[in-house]
C-alpha cells in the first residue's frame, strides 16, 4: 500500500494518530504518544518512496513499544512511579534495529508495573481495557500493547514475556502473541524483571506479521551475553504442509479449565486433524509445580534486579529524609507499588539465610526437572498444544486481594519461561461470554520455524482474517 502509493506513510501515520486520539481514552492502551517522532519518520519514508527506493518489510509501519523497552530521549517508566521522568540515554537493541528500519513509533504502551502482573491493573497510569469489552482487563503485563494491536491502534507492538506477559494479554484481547526462545532476541535495553526469564516478542494481528518481526529483531547482540540470535529465518518456511506434525496435548493443562474454554480448544483439534496433524494426549505432572517454581525464581531475580532503584542515579527520590539509609528505604517504599513490593519481599525471603536451600536452590533444581520433562515430551511430539489462559478476560477489579489467586492466571504460560521455550498464542474462538479464547502452541528451543508455520497454517485454515476488533482503529 505504501509502495504503490495508495496511501503515503504520513497519511497512514495520521490515520493511526487520529484513531488513537478518539479511542485510547476508553482503553488506556497508550500511556505516552510520540506524534512528532512518528510523523518525522513517516516523512522520511515518504521521501525515500518518492526517490524510488524499495522499502524493507517493516519500514513505515506504525507500531508501539511496551514502556519497559528503552527509547533514547523518550520517557520510559515501566508504568511505575519509581521511573516517572526517567528518559533513557540509549535505545534498546530491538528498538535500534526497528528505528534503523524506519519503524513509525506511535507511542509507549501501558503495562503492569515493572512487568509484574497479569491484568495491567498494577500500572501507575491506571489499567488498560479490553477492546472487546473495556470493563474487562486487557491482560498483562503487556496489556497496553495487546489492547492497541487488537483495536487496530497499531499494526504491531513489542512486549516482553517473563511468565506469559505477551501470550496472556494476546489471548485476552484476541491477538497473536509470540514469545521466542530465550536468548534469540536481545534483552539489552529491556528493563530487567527476571533476567533468566525475560524475553521480548511481538504482538500482532497475524502470525505472518509475528514471524516477520521475529526474523528482523532476532540477532546476536554483543550487548547481551545471553543472546545468540535465531538459528534460521522463519518467514521462508511459512506455508509448508504440516501433514504428520505430531502435536501433544498434556492433560494437566486442562485441569480446572471451564467447559467453554475446553470446547473452544476441542474445536481446534478437528482443524488440526483435517490438516493432517497427529494428535496425542499425555501426562506431564511436573508442570503442576510450574507456578511456585516460577514465582520463587522470578521474585528472587526481581529482588536483585530492583535493588538498583535507590533514587540516586535515576528515578524517583523521596523529598525528605534524615540520612542515606532513610533516603533509600523511603524512596523505594514510596516509588514501588504494592505488588512490586510483595514480590521483592518474597524474593528476599527465598534468598535469605536459612531459606535459600529450601526454596531458591530447590526451585533451581526443579527448574532442571521441568526442562527435562519438556525434552522428554519433545522426543515424542513436535509441538505441544494447551490453552493460553484457563479463562477468558475477566472484569477489572476481580483479583484485588489475594496475590496467589492472581497468579493462577499464569498457570499455562509459566512452564514455557522456566524451560526457555518458544510459544505462541493465537485466537481460537470465544468463550460463553463472547470474549476471545487463546490457544497456545509450544515448541522445543529454536523451533520457531516449525512453531510459527503450524500457527500460520491453522490461521489460514480458519479464514486468515486479521485478528482485530471490527469497527475499531484505522481498519484499512
Amino acid at each position: 500500500m505504501l509502495e504503490s502509493r495508495e496511501l503515503s506513510c504520513t497519511e497512514l501515520t495520521e490515520k493511526y494518530l487520529n484513531a488513537i486520539g478518539k479511542e485510547n481514552a476508553a482503553l488506556n492502551a497508550y500511556i505516552r504518544l510520540t506524534p512528532e517522532t512518528a510523523l518525522e519518520t513517516a516523512r522520511r519514508v515518504d521521501e525515500d518512496i518518492a526517490s524510488g527506493r524499495s522499502l524493507s518489510p517493516l519500514e513505515g509501519i506504525p507500531m508501539t513499544l511496551k514502556d519497559n523497552i528503552s527509547t533514547k530521549g523518550i520517557e520510559t517508566t515501566c508504568c511505575s512511579k519509581m521511573l516517572q521522568g526517567y528518559v533513557p540515554i540509549y535505545d534498546a537493541t530491538v528498538w535500534k534495529i526497528l528505528k534503523d528500519q524506519n519503524a513509525v513509533l506511535l507511542g509507549k504502551t501501558n503495562m503492569d508495573e515493572f512487568a509484574m502482573g497479569s491484568t495491567c491493573e498494577n500500572s501507575c497510569y491506571g489499567g488498560a481495557g479490553n477492546p472487546h469489552d473495556p470493563v474487562r482487563v486487557a491482560g498483562g503485563s503487556s496489556g497496553g500493547a495487546a489492547a492497541a494491536v487488537a483495536s487496530d491502534l497499531a499494526v504491531y507492538g513489542l512486549g516482553s514475556d517473563t511468565g506469559g506477559s505477551i501470550r496472556e494479554p494476546a489471548s485476552f484481547c484476541g491477538a497473536v502473541g509470540f514469545k521466542p526462545t530465550y536468548g534469540t532476541v536481545s534483552r539489552y535495553g529491556l528493563v530487567a524483571f527476571a533476567s533468566s526469564f525475560d524475553q521480548i516478542g511481538p504482538i500482532t494481528q497475524s502470525v505472518e506479521d509475528a514471524a516477520l518481526i521475529y526474523d528482523v529483531i532476532s540477532r546476536q547482540d554483543p550487548m547481551d551475553s545471553t543472546c545468540t540470535g535465531r538459528k534460521t529465518a522463519v518467514v521462508p518456511d511459512l506455508g509448508k504442509g504440516i501433514r504428520g506434525l505430531k502435536i501433544g496435548i498434556p492433560r494437566e493443562y486442562f485441569d480446572n479449565v471451564p467447559e467453554d474454554v475446553r470446547k473452544a480448544l476441542r474445536n481446534t483439534l478437528k482443524i488440526w486433524k483435517s490438516m493432517g496433524a497427529e494428535l496425542s494426549e499425555f501426562g506431564m505432572p511436573s508442570v503442576k509445580l510450574g507456578l511456585p517454581i516460577y514465582y520463587i525464581l522470578a521474585c528472587a531475580e526481581a529482588s536483585s534486579n530492583l535493588g538498583r532503584y535507590d533514587g540516586i542515579r535515576y528515578g524517583y527520590c523521596t523529598p525528605h529524609y534524615q540520612n542515606r539509609e532513610e533516603m533509600v528505604c523511603k524512596t523505594r517504599s514510596e516509588g514501588f507499588g504494592r505488588e512490586v513490593k510483595r514480590r521483592i519481599l518474597l524474593g528476599t525471603y527465598v534468598l535469605s539465610a536459612g531459606y535459600y536451600d529450601a526454596y531458591y536452590k530447590k526451585a533451581q533444581d526443579l527448574r532442571g526437572a521441568v526442562i527435562r520433562a519438556f525434552d522428554d515430551v519433545f522426543q515424542k511430539c513436535d509441538l505441544i498444544l494447551t490453552p493460553t489462559v484457563p479463562t477468558t478476560a475477566f472484569p477489572k477489579g476481580r483479583t484485588g486481594g489475594d496475590p496467589v489467586e492472581n497468579y493462577q492466571t499464569d498457570i499455562c504460560t509459566v512452564p514455557v519461561n522456566i524451560a526457555g521455550l518458544p510459544a505462541v498464542s493465537i485466537p481460537c474462538g470465544s468463550g460463553r461470554d463472547g470474549m476471545p479464547v487463546g490457544m497456545q502452541l509450544i515448541g522445543p528451543r529454536f523451533s520457531e520455524s516449525v512453531l510459527l508455520n503450524a500457527a500460520y497454517r491453522y490461521e489460514q485454515e480458519t479464514g486468515g482474517e486479521p485478528y482485530r476488533v471490527k469497527g475499531m482503529g484505522v481498519d484499512l
Binding site: V87, S225, P292, L345, K362, R367, P403
Partner: protein, 92 residues
C-alpha cells in the same frame, strides 16, 4: 507461618519501609505467597541443578576498549549532580 517481626526484618534487608498500618496486611499476603512456595520446598522430587539453557559459561567479549556513555549523559537523569558526580545529600 512468618511473623510480623520476620516481615519487618525482610523489609529491612530489601531496603523497604513498612508502615505500621501496612504490616498486618503485608504479613498476611506474604504468608499466602510463602505457603504457595512451600509446594516447592516440600516436594519430594529432587531435580537437578539448572546450569543455563545452552551450557555456555563465562561469556566475554574481546578485551578491546569501546566508547561508552558521556558523563553528562549519564548524569542527565540524576536528581542532583555536582562537578560531574552524582550528589547525595546527607539529609533533605
Amino acid at each position: 507461618m512468618v511473623s510480623k517481626q520476620e516481615i519487618a526484618r525482610l523489609a529491612k534487608l530489601a531496603k523497604l519501609y513498612v508502615k505500621p498500618e501496612e504490616l498486618d496486611g503485608l504479613t498476611e499476603d506474604l504468608n499466602r505467597m510463602i505457603r504457595f512456595a512451600d509446594a516447592v520446598a516440600t516436594s519430594p522430587e529432587k531435580g537437578s541443578a539448572f546450569g543455563g539453557f545452552d551450557g555456555r559459561e563465562n561469556i566475554f567479549r574481546e578485551d578491546v576498549p569501546h566508547p561508552s556513555f558521556r558523563r553528562d549523559d549519564i548524569l542527565k537523569n540524576a536528581g542532583s549532580a555536582e562537578d560531574g558526580f552524582f550528589l547525595v545529600r546527607h539529609r533533605r
